[in-house]
């Protein structure tokens, strides 16, 4: 029990860090999802030029580590005169970064629907907008739900990188506690447990969505 004392004394500090992690992840997931859907639609329906630009964006984002992008934007933004608080700068980078991956998830969901579903919707006189809303999206999003949750898990874990640019969250909070207590083993096990609980809950939710997606299939 004595061995766990540093962790028991600072668990509340770690929880506050976890709260910040969740806030950051939540703030990034929403725009990343919205942009991911838009990019997926551009991929499926866009004109060739728009699709070519999108491809370049996807290749660039997928080819650069998130940490490099975070550092780059951290140093670049002040030079451009854009005065964005570090929290929002990080949220911006993570949103743009994960939007690329999420767009692939949603694109795969849309494209995995058989052509027959599109034909049936069109043959009933549905406009493209209506067809997407009531036939394609409900099915595509259900198919995309499990990989989407995986991306969310990945995003939560990726927030640990932002401590490198000085933003305070669970990993940074853990490091601070370690510096105070000199008990890295206990503290990082505590941090790992908190990350695990967050991600495992998300994974369970993903499994629930996966089961739900089987309704009607």
């Amino acid at each position: 029990m004595k061995m766990l004392a540093p962790l028991l004394h600072s668990y509340w500090y770690l929880f506050r860090g976890a709260g910040m992690t969740l806030l950051m992840a939540g703030a990034a997931v929403l725009p990343a999802t919205a942009l991911g859907v838009v990019l997926a639609l551009v991929h499926v329906f866009g004109r060739p030029m728009a699709r070519a630009v999108l491809q370049v964006y996807l290749f660039v984002v997928r080819g650069i580590p998130l940490l490099v992008l975070l550092t780059f934007v951290y140093y670049l933004l002040p030079l451009t005169g854009i005065d964005l608080p570090p929290f929002w700068g990080v949220v911006l980078v993570m949103s743009l970064y994960y939007a690329a991956f999420m767009s692939e998830v949603f694109r795969a969901g849309i494209e995995s629907l058989p052509q027959a579903q599109w034909d049936a919707a069109r043959s009933l006189g549905m406009t493209r907008h209506l067809m997407l809303r009531i036939v394609i999206f409900p099915q595509a999003l259900r198919l995309a739900a499990p990989p989407f949750v995986s991306q969310c898990v990945s995003l939560v874990k990726a927030t640990s990188l932002v401590s490198i640019v000085g933003l305070w969250e669970l990993t940074m909070a853990s490091r601070e506690v370690v510096e105070r207590t000199l008990a890295p083993f206990q503290i990082f096990i505590g941090a790992a447990l908190i990350y695990f609980c967050i991600c495992y809950t998300l994974a369970l939710y993903g499994r629930y969505l996966e089961r739900r997606s089987l309704v009607g299939h």
């Binding site: 034909d119 049936a120 043959s123 009933l124 006189g125 549905m126 406009t127 036939v135 009607g216």
Partner: protein, 284 residues
């Protein structure tokens, strides 16, 4: 065969009055010189076909002859490169500009609107798997035509009763047999009150024991005076129900005529061979 079908009241909203004075039948579908290519492969080579209101035309022919493409061009699920298609006088997909005489593609909204008047039932049913049977049937009338939900549901239940599936309204398609799914697909298409119904080999994917129930629904529809184009390999259905049979091969109409003439004395050797093969196999 489903008893509920043979004695069923009309599947069509406004069936023609039997015994009413007959004017010259108005053309419901007119296709003129329709050409459709997939890359270098020309699938329809200038097909012209006219179907009168209330007429049942059965299209037969070997695989790859362009039958399905013909249907898909009628409601523009496939774009065609030349020719015109009109349904009840309204152009489908393209209209001719009176000044330049050039074909002009209609807007997506206009094309969607014109599809409302044309029902199609597919070989693989194509029901929406995430919707119940009832939701499948009411989705388009409510969202596309703006029919009040209560009215659309009442009509859907009526159609389900007529195709013998009253008890399946709350089921998901996956819980239904192929024949039941196909009858739901017919009800779904009819819920839009189409002027023309097209059937694309609707029994081909069915267990032979389930074919009868689908054909019975189609026969009922034909009796009710619905204008129908049916692509099928069911020669007995063609003989019993069709007003006219069209034989296609190589993207052209090779021969057309009354069923009794086509089956008894086809004019072309190719049709004779084709039907002989069916006679030998199925002894129709």
């Amino acid at each position: 065969m489903d008893d509920t079908l043979s004695d069923a009241p009309s599947l069509v909203t406004d069936p023609p009055v039997i015994g009413a004075p007959q004017a010259a039948p108005r053309p419901m579908l007119t296709m003129t010189g329709v050409v459709k290519s997939f890359g270098a492969n020309q699938v329809l080579r200038g097909v012209s076909l006219s179907v009168a209101a209330g007429e049942v035309v059965v299209v037969i022919g070997p695989s790859g002859s362009g039958k399905t493409t013909l249907l898909r061009c009628v409601n523009l699920l496939e774009d065609y490169q030349q020719g015109t298609v009109t349904v009840d006088g309204a152009p489908i997909g393209y209209r001719i500009d009176p000044r330049s005489g050039q074909r002009q593609r209609m807007s997506e909204r206009d094309i969607a609107a014109s599809r409302e008047t044309i029902g199609i039932v597919f070989q693989s049913y194509n029901l929406f798997p995430h919707m119940t049977v009832l939701q499948n049937i009411v989705a388009a009338p409510v969202r596309v035509k703006g029919v009040p939900r209560a009215k659309a549901e009442a009509r859907a239940r009526e159609l389900l009763a007529l195709v013998g599936l009253s008890d399946k309204a709350g089921e998901y398609p996956v819980r239904l047999s192929g024949g039941q799914q196909q009858r739901v697909a017919i009800a779904r298409a009819l819920a839009m009150d189409p002027k023309l119904m097209m059937f694309d080999e609707v029994t081909s994917a069915l267990d032979p024991e389930l074919v009868g129930e689908v054909l019975a629904a189609m026969q009922q529809l034909a009796r009710d005076g619905m204008t129908m184009i049916v692509v099928t390999h069911e020669m007995s259905f063609a003989r019993d129900v069709a007003d006219r049979i069209v034989f296609m091969e190589g993207g052209v109409i090779v021969e057309e005529g009354k069923p009794e003439q086509m089956f008894a004395a086809p004019r072309t050797e190719r049709v004779r061979q084709f039907l002989k093969r069916y006679n030998d196999r199925y002894r129709i």
